[in-house]
């Protein structure tokens, strides 16, 4: 049974106050087009989990996000996520930092269906500082606070292997997970190239999973090679075909990052007015993503196409400069 829908329909399922995670990481395989649709549809009070970069930062700039619980708020080589940085410094966004292994263990626990897992991951650091614990703030804006844990962590002594003080890390659960991938079957079987990031875990701990993909293929085709598939169709709710759906980020085997676009984004979003102007040009188009890619232009996009077997555009061939 086909799960293919339009982007508008898929994003229409997201509710104000949802706890949401976007797949990929930083510049790699981000659901940017989906995030732009979230802004277009004027979603509010979202609680962002995991990282805040590129597509997440677009949602922050668009006024969609009230709280963030995650591990990384930078656009990689392109500076700290500008909209997030501005709002954090204004004190107008709730921010609750966790560690990267915290995040990994959290989604793994969610995938495994367990309530918590012990680790020494943030022992000794300010991540555990009670004064910086803003989980309560995130719970207060979430539409369904039960999706979030009641506590950020609990400390106890390891009774099994003499590891001493360990941190109990609660599972990460989500209302919505949005992933952008290279290939998906019509029924939702997902195949990812390059880093899986957290998608193969996060999609299994979310109530609703939206997959946007460079290509939607017949389910029978993608099932000929099951070892290559990363998310089962049983965990996917909606599928959207969206070529260039991660632009200006990278999609391994499809395209490299659009560096001038990323630099322009970083510059524009130093102020809210700058973001609004940028959004007027790139987000608020009549035909959404279709207009977006036509505006970028075929020749610009062609230069970003990945070269096999590398999966990106090798610089020595005169690629991205």
């Amino acid at each position: 049974m086909s799960k293919v829908v339009s982007l508008k329909e898929a994003i229409g399922e997201i509710k104000d106050g949802d706890v949401i995670l976007t797949g990929g990481i930083v510049e790699d395989r981000r659901p940017v087009a989906a995030a732009m649709e979230v802004v277009r549809q004027g979603k509010k009070n979202l609680v962002l989990i995991g990282t805040c970069s590129l597509c997440d930062d677009i949602m922050v700039g668009g006024g969609c996000v009230a709280a963030y619980r995650g591990t990384y708020t930078s656009n990689g080589a392109f500076g700290i996520s500008p909209n997030f940085k501005r709002k954090a410094e204004e004190g107008s966004i709730i921010c609750d930092d966790i560690g990267h292994i915290d995040y990994s263990i959290g989604v793994m626990a969610g995938m495994a269906g367990v309530p918590f897992i012990a680790s020494k991951t943030c022992i000794g650091t300010d991540v555990l500082n009670p004064a910086y614990d803003n989980l309560g703030g995130a719970r207060s804006v979430a539409r369904n606070p039960e999706v979030l844990p009641k506590k950020k962590y609990v400390l106890m002594e390891d009774p099994f292997f003499d590891m001493g003080t360990v941190q109990l890390i609660p599972a990460i659960k989500l209302d919505v997970c949005i992933c952008h991938v290279q290939m998906v079957g019509e029924e939702g079987t997902v195949r990812i190239d390059g880093s899986l990031t957290f998608d193969h875990f996060a999609a299994l701990s979310a109530r609703k999973v939206i997959v946007t993909a460079e290509q939607v293929v017949p389910e029978s085709y993608i099932r000929q090679d099951p070892n290559r598939n990363c998310i089962p169709c049983t965990s996917v709710d909606m599928v959207v075909e969206l070529p260039w759906g991660a632009h200006p980020g990278q999609v391994y085997n499809f395209y490299d990052m659009d560096i001038p676009f990323l630099q322009e984004y970083a510059k524009s979003c130093a102020t809210q007015e700058g973001f609004d102007k940028w959004a007027a040009e790139w987000i608020f188009n009549e035909n959404g993503h279709d207009d977006y890619i036509n505006k970028l232009g075929a020749s610009r996009l062609q230069k970003l196409r990945a070269v096999p077997p590398y999966g990106y555009v090798p610089r020595k061939k005169g690629g991205v400069k």
Binding site: I25, E27, D28, G70, T71, Y72, T73, S74, G76, A77, I80, F84, E89, E90, C95, D97, G99, H100, I101, D102, Y103, S104, I105, V107, M108, K120, T121, C122, I123, G124, T125, D126, V127, L128, N129, P130, A131, Y132, N134, L155, M163, T165, G194, S195, L196, T197, F198, D199, F201, Q250, Y252, D256, M257, A306, Y310, G311, Y312, P314, R315, K321
Partner: protein
């Protein structure tokens, strides 16, 4: 054939930092390192091409024994996938740390204090309304907790090398015990490892065995110990420092012509 020596002024302080870091990594040839984003990637690429060809590189995004053919722009760059032994996700990329397999972590940061704690979360103001909000914990916190050694790379500026960090992201030698927030030695919380070295744009610092406080071990050619003291935000001991061996022109050439010819990292 003797190698030609490059004179200070013929290379930038950032290039010096990267070259000395690559040399430092010679001690990790054949060992496993988890490399953070930014300049550590450049130093690693240079080290793999010269002094540490058998170093085994792990990256948080799930590559094991990565062998990038081109300099990645960040650890998220697709350039790290091709040639890796496997490509999984971030959990698989990070668990070697918590399994105690990683010999060293290699990171940058925004602030470092005299105990080797590193801050990449916020500077100034309050956590809920910071003066400068930064990237957050990422893998830096995990490297500090789990890696058997941590090597930090950062430009040597007074505002960055401080008495105590504004937010303790990466645990160094004196860390925080919660819920009280008291400062204790990391061993007390059952943390092994700890930072051995801080490589800056002026020299290489280490941590005293007893006090665990940072001191200057080597200063780079063209730099005087007094310069280092003047550019450090606490009263750093420079009495034990000696001058580092000079940089060679072939190292600079490699950086500029092979590794980063497009000056993506703006080192020069």
């Amino acid at each position: 054939m003797t190698r030609e020596i490059a004179k200070p002024g013929e290379y930038s302080p950032v290039e010096a930092m990267v070259v000395y870091a690559a040399r430092f990594l010679a001690g990790f040839d054949g060992k496993k390192g988890l490399i953070g984003t930014g300049l550590p990637l450049v130093a690693t690429q240079l080290a793999k091409m010269t002094y540490s060809p058998n170093m085994i590189i792990f990256v948080e995004t799930g590559q094991a024994d990565a062998r990038p053919q081109e300099l990645p722009i960040s650890i998220m760059d697709s350039r790290l996938t091709y040639g890796s032994s496997w490509q999984m996700g971030d959990p698989e990329g990070l668990f070697p740390l918590s399994r105690n397999e990683i010999d060293f972590g290699f990171i940058g940061g925004a602030q470092i204090d005299k105990y080797g704690n590193v801050n990449s979360t916020f500077i100034g103001g309050d956590y809920n309304k910071p003066y400068k909000r930064l990237a957050g914990t990422a893998g830096a916190v995990d490297i500090g907790v789990f890696a058997k050694d941590t090597v930090i790379l950062m430009a040597h500026q007074k505002r960055r090398i401080v008495d105590f960090v504004d937010y303790l992201t990466t645990p160094g030698w004196m860390v925080k015990k919660w819920p009280e927030g008291t400062l204790v030695r990391r061993e007390e919380l059952g943390l092994q490892g700890g930072p051995s070295s801080f490589i800056s744009s002026m020299g290489i610092c280490r941590f005293d065995d007893t006090t665990k406080i940072m001191y200057l071990d080597k200063y780079f050619p063209g730099i005087k110990p007094e310069d280092v003291k003047a550019n450090t935000g606490f009263d750093i001991d420079v009495s034990r420092a000696t001058e580092a061996d000079p940089i060679y022109t072939d190292e600079i050439k490699l950086l500029r012509e092979e590794i980063d010819p497009l000056n993506i990292y703006k080192m020069r």
